[in-house]
Symmetry: C2
Subunit: 335 residues, 2 copies
């Protein structure tokens, strides 16, 4: 399978994720416990990957699996990073409002590029760096608050701690992605075996999170396993399946493509969600959304187009200086 | 003189033009007739150019001057285009508000690129086209209306005629620039002789415009020459000198550099004016201004940086695969 097909599919599914999540709410918010969704998605990914791994066993050559503890012990690390990230995110939101947090979230595009360069030793041209920064600028542009929006903050009005935590959050998010890419590429183990390890720990950590939430709330709503599927509708299940599928696609990209491809897919998905919201939820299309789409489109072209295509001057037959200009002048004078 | 020094000076002076014009107003508007400013600026440019041409006569070799009517008759054309442009501008403003007009004005960056390609047969790489479009997107981004601004228009809410006229206006503005470049470069006549021709017609057309304004208003404020310097202060004179000097710099760029350099200089000047307004007139700095500056800076780098610098991958010593990643992993595990 071609990486750009997977990236395209990831864009569509990530975009539907936002739409489905909105559709799964009623006007009073969620009818179900949203924290159960990522847990069930991990379980879904684990089941699918186990099944595919089992299928590989019946193929012409059995899947390559490193079961050495030295290798397995690396697989909970992404979950640990996400756990820390969640807590930093929570701390950040005590200093800045959600829209500022959302704007700062675009920083992770740039931090992913930086960590990709540092940890994975991947070289990027000056132009590719420009493209990555442009992608971050483009997604930020699309989120600029328009006129008529209720709250109106001055630039950099939050306390400095908020911005520092926002940067830390962007670094952790990038680190999780880059580390996962390292894990998937460090040997040629079967993708499904790597997934099984990743999602087993993912499911465990999500379970722990649900339990901790219960402990914090003093089990007032009962233990999580008793209310796991409470309020689930068909849309909620679609949210779960969608989240699980996007996770599987991201794993595939981490092994056969890279973090930058993932970052492009998710950024484009964000813009697509905003465009779809215009049609589905009567959002007002804004100039900044249009500009953001143009900027990100240019960034995509700059990053992925062949270098020759970008820098070569078009070949034309030798021009006869003056002649055609004179024609233009004659026309002008005649008008 | 290097073209980028001239372009830098043009940026500074164009930017001061906005500031000086604001400073020359009092709180009830202009104390003087603003239409007299461009006329006096033309006269200033004509006087300076005549003087410099006269000076060239005393040099080691006399200036090259084509005085053939077939050549001279081309020099009023830029003034004619500007005259048409002014009328189209006026018509456009009956359909759209000034802020929409200002946003559409950024189109002239792209139309200049297109006419530059068509009429002057100048080849641009794919990357340079991207840079030009990005410059237009960047200046537009900086002008996105922020939250809290009074009037709040929906995207594309004006009648279609307004947008068509806006496009026409952008084409005419670009045509005037491209045509002037053609005039300045079509032979190696002395720049000052070309200027003298250009500004003689410029002064005449501006005079005609003042006269037409008087006729339209039925001479109720008296003929223009009687109230030419009414209400002029030292600041007004600085506006005139500034406008005249920027005009001379633009002429120089048209002969020794090109329209794209001019477009970059004036776009950067617009951003600089906005930044200076934050300090001078207590304008609120906005996220969109910051984004616009970043985008235009990237565009500048993309357009003017040497191609090799942009596309080459950094050279590093051969990396030992795994080793450094392993170190990173060890560190992660230790944390």
């Amino acid at each position: 399978m071609q990486w750009y097909l997977v990236a395209g599919l990831l864009t569509l599914l990530t975009s539907s994720q936002g739409i489905l999540t909105t559709l799964s709410q009623n006007n009073r918010g969620y009818n179900y416990d949203y924290a159960t969704v990522p847990f069930l998605a991990e379980v879904f990914k684990l089941v699918v990957s186990s099944f595919l791994l089992w299928g590989e066993n019946w193929g012409s050559q059995p899947p390559k699996m490193t079961t050495d503890w030295k290798s397995v012990r690396l697989f909970p690390i992404p979950s640990i990073i996400y756990l820390i990230h969640n807590n930093v995110q929570f701390a950040t939101l005590t200093y800045v409002d959600t829209s500022t947090y959302q704007i700062m979230g675009n920083l992770k595009i740039v931090t992913t590029g930086i960590l990709f360069r540092i940890f994975l030793k991947r070289k990027l041209s000056n132009l590719q760096w420009l493209a990555i920064m442009l992608l971050a600028v483009g997604t930020t542009t699309s989120q600029v608050k328009g006129c008529g929006e209720s709250s109106c903050d001055t630039l950099f009005s939050a306390p400095i701690q908020g911005y520092m935590l926002g940067i830390l959050s962007a670094c952790l998010s990038a680190l999780a992605g880059v580390y996962t890419e390292f894990l998937m590429k460090k040997n040629n183990d079967s993708l499904y075996w790597q997934n099984v390890q990743l999602y087993t720990f993912g499911a465990i950590f999500n379970m722990m999170r649900l339990l901790l939430d219960d402990i914090h709330s003093g089990f007032e709503k009962g233990p999580w396993w008793q209310r796991l599927l409470n309020g689930y509708t068909i849309t909620t299940w679609m949210v779960v399946l969608n989240l699980g599928t996007t996770g599987l696609l991201v794993s595939w990209l981490m092994k056969y493509a890279d973090n930058i491809v993932k970052v492009y897919a998710t950024s484009m998905a964000m813009l697509l969600t905003m465009v779809l919201s215009v049609f589905l939820f009567d959002f007002k299309p804004t100039l900044q959304l249009l500009l953001g789409i143009i900027i990100c489109g240019m960034s995509l072209h700059m990053y992925f187009a062949p270098v020759n295509m970008l820098v070569e001057l078009p070949l034309t037959s030798k021009t006869v200086p003056g002649t055609l200009n004179e024609v233009a002048v004659e026309k002008l004078e005649g008008s």
